[in-house]
Subunit: 338 residues, 3 copies
């Protein structure tokens, strides 16, 4: 594609030769002729002198003799250019003959149902949505338009997915919540989980992530939120909009997570608590109780990140502290005891 | 259903109007006409004045003008009422034409085999058990009666499941244990894993949980134990009865976990150790060595919960401690060093 | 099998009666007549007096009247003896009639494709490789020779697996990496993930492990490395040779892990960092930054294991330390403040 044409598609101005051909996107150190690269931060700007890329996406303020797509957010423009130049394959409309689609299911226009997929009774799949190989969409499920369910995904009975939802391979949506009532002899009795899961528009769910249905009512993932792989969402959890949960995060039942929250890898959130809008928790943080909006927390139990950084820096010196304390005590006999 | 009829089914006395109609169960704040609600703790009792529920499950000592089902364990009675009023759908007996059942497999009376499920050679599935869509039960597996395997579950060759076992979607039972012998050059050689997994009666296994088969002998999950989603059980682990493992818990190979143990979310248990009956580990605890029965532990490495709570409260003050120590040292020159 | 015959197969000398019959391998405490057992460390040598095994694998220096296979690495010889005496079942060559194999896929000699497996367009599966029930190998995937993909494994488009690779049930190879660009309003836009995953020869991948494809380029798992269950590998990660990742380890995007590294259970590795050859991280360690080759690290943030052990031993005494500090301050009024 000619740079000028790409620029028109992306709505970005060009600086320099707009007739250069770009056929793919590549990182600045691996880009060769025909590649469009990008500079998302000052750290990479010096590489512009040596890159062999044919063109570059840069902020308008960055000078370079290379043909340039100008953007205030080069990283975002990179994402959009990649989608234009190297679009992921879209399976053609139609139902594979090996798929098992219930006669009462309703498939919208242009829907793709892959090999050995299953669509249950009264399920509804919106226009242009794709169910890849071996997906199971159970009875009474609703999937919106332009959604993409990768191989092996399971959506249990009655759950609802919005438009443009992407679910990576093997994820499970709507498994029973972990709810049991204990009797006098210490045995656990299952509480039927009769609620559902609602996934709003533009959500992405990672591979092998499990989202439990509510006991009563619903578990809800808000518009635009992104969940990575192997994440665990307990029953009746609600997650706000544009929130990001990294790999292996776990959220226990009935907790409420706000909008624009970021939980880094392996963070754990206790049940029945509230995490305010805009909270950030660094990796492996354990959150046992409510967190105020806008806070950055770390450690277990979670404390403000700044305090945690300072205390973590002292932690390796604890043996030395103890030794110094003892030295003081020897100077002041009778003040302490071992 | 008339309250009196439900009461008879549950074996509970009624107080007040026993002819009121109840058609569903709902939390006290969301209950409307026709709903049965429950008060499981004093925290919720005040809501009885404002609830719009038609009836309530309460302890006999709790006064209320609402028609009441009386129970010493309202939460357990709620679970049982829910199973009566809103029973989960039971797939009808029969083998879906798309399922692949080996000619030597034996299916009990009333068994359901869903679309695209696979039952291997010599596998046996007990009466009324349900294999939902895409379940794979490999050769020589035994599944007891009234068990329920949700979509996509895999049970590997030779493993045995008891009666009334429930396995949530995508769980894997009987994958190879993680066993390798290292040679003189640092390369790993696979140790064949020829043991099995045994799941006793009334166990529930969560979605996307993996339970490895033993190298030799068996991995065993005891009667009535409940495992949540994304749990990892290593080879040759044994778990006692009525034990609860929350989401993302990991147990390394050959460890023995007692009965009535509770491991909260993301707890890790090292290999070849023993955790006594009734132990409780709070979330994210890392357990490197044996734990005495009845202990409550926290932290990594795990210590008694009370000590951990106290030390965790001091942790954010470490920078301050260091400062105070320095101040003392300045008052007593020569006593310490930086 | 006669001991002498087994010895010849394994290339080990025999001491004592080489005509004894051995039919299986068993742990020393559970071994009966017909069993071959092994003594891999001094801890077990005393059991040789009471074992009922017919023969034993021992180091040459260990004296015992039992018929013995002599080996400098008894544990490795045990693994090899097990593979000879109790080989795992090998599914016969052929494509199950219920499998869906694209007409452009190429299957090598002796390949097994199990029930309801899917092989996509232009995929290539090398000689003698086995795809068990319900495996999905997408378009343009390459699988080498003698590899084994257990039930329900998904390999996404374009990924490449080497020879003798084993993938346990339900693992996902090549799911989209977790890459999003944020716009000015805090919304996330998907970055197409157009790279692949490369799994080199002799790698084993655990059940329900997820390995993300690169955004651009590749994610790579090096020759002979072993990943346990429920492991998360982010996009563009590279892992060296003979490295071991235990259950529930998570590695964030673009990090580089060396060869002969061991990450114990639930370890977390941040993105864009480098972990040198031979590093060991104990369970639950959180690694936020580069680690020098050969280091043993623990804790979060990770510090050298020896320091961590010492500081962890002081941690439970923090309340006592604070008390002793206060006592000193009372002796030296004015030196500190609460």
């Amino acid at each position: 594609m000619i740079l000028r044409e790409l620029a028109a598609r992306l709505g970005c101005p060009v600086r320099g030769d707009d007739a250069v051909e770009v056929v793919r996107v590549a990182p600045i150190d691996h880009a060769g002729p025909g590649a469009l690269t990008f500079v998302a931060g000052p750290k990479w700007a010096s590489r512009l002198k040596t890159t062999r890329a044919s063109a570059v996406i840069v902020a308008p303020s960055l000078e370079t003799p290379l043909p340039s797509l100008l953007s205030d957010n080069p990283y975002l423009t990179f994402a959009r250019a990649l989608a234009v130049l190297q679009p992921p394959p879209v399976p053609p409309p139609g139902v594979h003959p090996s798929a098992v689609v219930h006669e009462t299911a309703v498939l919208g226009e242009g829907v793709h149902v892959g090999p050995l997929a299953v669509v249950g009774a009264r399920a509804r799949v919106g226009a242009r949505s794709v169910l890849r190989a071996r997906v199971v969409v159970h009875e009474d499920v609703e999937v919106g338009e332009d959604s993409l369910l990768h191989s092996g995904v399971v959506v249990r009975e009655g759950c609802r997915l919005g438009d443009r939802v992407i679910v990576q391979d093997g994820a499970v949506i709507g498994s029973d919540g972990f709810g049991f009532a204990r009797d006098g002899e210490g045995r656990y009795h299952k509480i039927p989980q009769v609620g559902i899961v609602v996934i709003e528009d533009d959500v992405e769910i990672g591979a092998l992530t499990a989202i439990d249905r509510a006991a009563l009512g619903e578990t809800r993932i808000g518009r635009g939120s992104k969940l990575d792989n192997l994440v665990q969402i307990g029953h009746s959890v609600t997650i706000g909009k544009d929130t990001v949960l990294a790999g292996q995060v776990g959220v226990a039942g009935s907790s409420r997570i706000g909008s624009r929250v970021t939980l880094a890898g392996q963070v754990g959130v206790a049940g029945h608590i509230e995490i305010g809008d805009g909270v950030v928790a660094t990796a492996q943080t354990g959150i046992p109780s409510d967190v105020e909006p806008g806070t950055v927390v770390s450690g277990y139990p979670a404390i403000p990140n700044r305090e945690w950084l300072k205390s973590s820096a002292v932690f390796p010196r604890l043996p030395e502290l103890l030794k110094r304390l003892r030295a003081l005590e020897r100077r002041l006999p009778g003040s302490g005891e071992e």
